[in-house]
């Protein structure tokens, strides 16, 4: 039951993209169509689950002074693995993701979860947390790509939609449309947050960010040890 709660937290309550406002670059850049967005989300999900698991296993071995470089090495290893596997087996997706595939390594969701969660919690909990956050990231990307693909290209997952394809707004698939749709989505999320009396984040960047402690050089306090 607690595992289910743990999983759902990443998907809904603390959705990394729409509520915590992390990982904005791939969210804006790789949501032109649903296929690419799904590929981007799953690649990040794989890296997130693997790195969370390994970091959680090694959490008592890694000295806390050099933990950030250690985390980065673990994350970069899995990014390289995913990159090589995708190059070998799904070359079309590899080409459409381009540089953003290797940029997963600097995605703040992954380093943030390693620092905030995996270095303090058990292996199973960390893996489930990674899975939840990864699914949340994927869903947010797919949700945004759905809007941009349907109204921008008149297709969904590459299939044409009869009526809408005559009235497309190609601007939505360009960079301006990316910022616009993301702004609208966050505004919708803010409506729900305001209704439940939760304060939506007012700022991007490190100030109000829950993972800020993870990215800057504060010490990782190991709980329950």
């Amino acid at each position: 039951m607690t595992q289910l709660k743990n999983l759902l937290r990443g998907i809904i309550v603390e959705n990394p993209v729409l509520v915590l406002l992390l990982g904005t670059c791939p969210t804006l850049a790789k949501t032109n169509d649903v296929k690419t967005a799904l590929g981007m989300g799953i690649a990040a999900l794989l890296v997130l689950v693997c790195s969370n698991t390994v970091i959680s296993v090694l959490r008592k071995v890694i000295p806390s002074n050099v933990r950030i470089p250690c985390f980065i090495v673990v994350i970069a290893t899995f990014v390289t693995l995913v990159e090589m596997l995708m190059h070998a087996f799904i070359p079309s997706l590899y080409d459409s993701l381009g540089i953003f595939l290797s940029l997963i390594v600097v995605n703040c969701i992954i380093l943030g979860r390693a620092e905030m969660y995996a270095c303090k919690n058990g292996v199973l909990n960390s893996a489930v947390d990674g899975l939840g956050m990864g699914i949340g990231f994927t869903l947010a990307l797919v949700c945004m790509a759905t809007i941009r693909e349907i109204f921008g290209l008149g297709t969904f997952f590459g299939l044409e939609i009869p009526f809408i394809k005559d009235y497309t707004l190609p601007i939505l698939t360009q960079s301006a449309g990316g910022f616009f749709v993301f702004g609208l989505l966050i505004a919708i999320v803010n409506i729900f947050l305001n209704r439940t009396n939760k304060k939506p984040r007012q700022e991007f960047g490190c100030d109000g960010c829950p993972s800020a402690a993870g990215c800057t050089k504060t010490s990782c306090k190991t709980e329950g040890e």
């Binding site: 850049a29 970069a76 301006a176 616009f180 702004g183 490190c206």
Partner: protein, 204 residues
């Protein structure tokens, strides 16, 4: 490298393929640190500095070490570690020898360590067409890095101006804060999409 290539790289990277507004790299500092003009300028200058420095370090690593030894697959791991340690080193050096510069740029340096735009410049400078076809690829790569940083600075400064106007406006409640900033960014990006094709038509 002749003057024409230099101007061509500058125009494509600053106006046409602006890193922030058309390629979505380095969005976090673009939206996070653009509230005040002086902060935005400081961040932009620091990014130019780190981009040129990081390219100067990673370009030889790739072409003199990784490629001859057929270790290209280590690129991502090695680059991110080199960039991170380089930024730390530069921060220490600035703190010790140039405290006044450290006071104005230093606070932004750790923020840029894991910035995706810096890693992207290092990787793109290896594959960029103008760099690959140039007679002096290393110098051209440095120019490319500088131009990308300049594009970032331009976007930051422009957007800081836009945001100072937003600060005094009153949008609907659900649009307050982040959403209205993103909508404003979309309008700035729209303006930049007007530059599409300008460099190709001027030079070819």
């Amino acid at each position: 490298m002749d003057f024409k290539t230099f101007v061509f790289i500058l125009m494509t990277s600053v106006l046409v393929n602006n890193y922030v507004l058309t390629q979505f790299l380095g969005i976090c500092p673009f939206l996070g640190v653009s509230k005040k003009l002086n902060q935005a300028t400081g961040m932009g200058v620091a990014v130019i500095f780190v981009m040129v420095l990081a390219t100067a370090a990673t370009w030889p690593i790739q072409n003199l070490i990784l490629v001859p030894l057929k270790l290209d697959y280590l690129q991502t791991i090695l680059f991110i570690l080199v960039i991170a340690s380089l930024v730390q080193l530069v921060e220490m050096i600035l703190k010790k020898f140039l405290p006044s510069l450290h006071a104005s740029l230093g606070v932004y340096l750790p923020l840029i360590t894991t910035n995706c735009a810096v890693l992207a410049v290092c990787k793109n400078s290896l594959t960029n067409e103008s760099v690959a076809s140039s007679a002096a690829p290393f110098v051209t790569a440095l120019v490319y890095a500088f131009a990308c940083g300049l594009g970032f600075l331009l976007a930051m400064v422009l957007f800081a101006g836009v945001r100072s106007v937003i600060e005094h406006s009153k949008p609907p409640r659900c649009f307050e804060g982040v959403p209205i900033t993103l909508i404003a960014a979309s309008i700035v990006a729209l303006a930049f999409s007007g530059f599409g094709g300008i460099a190709e038509n001027l030079f070819k």
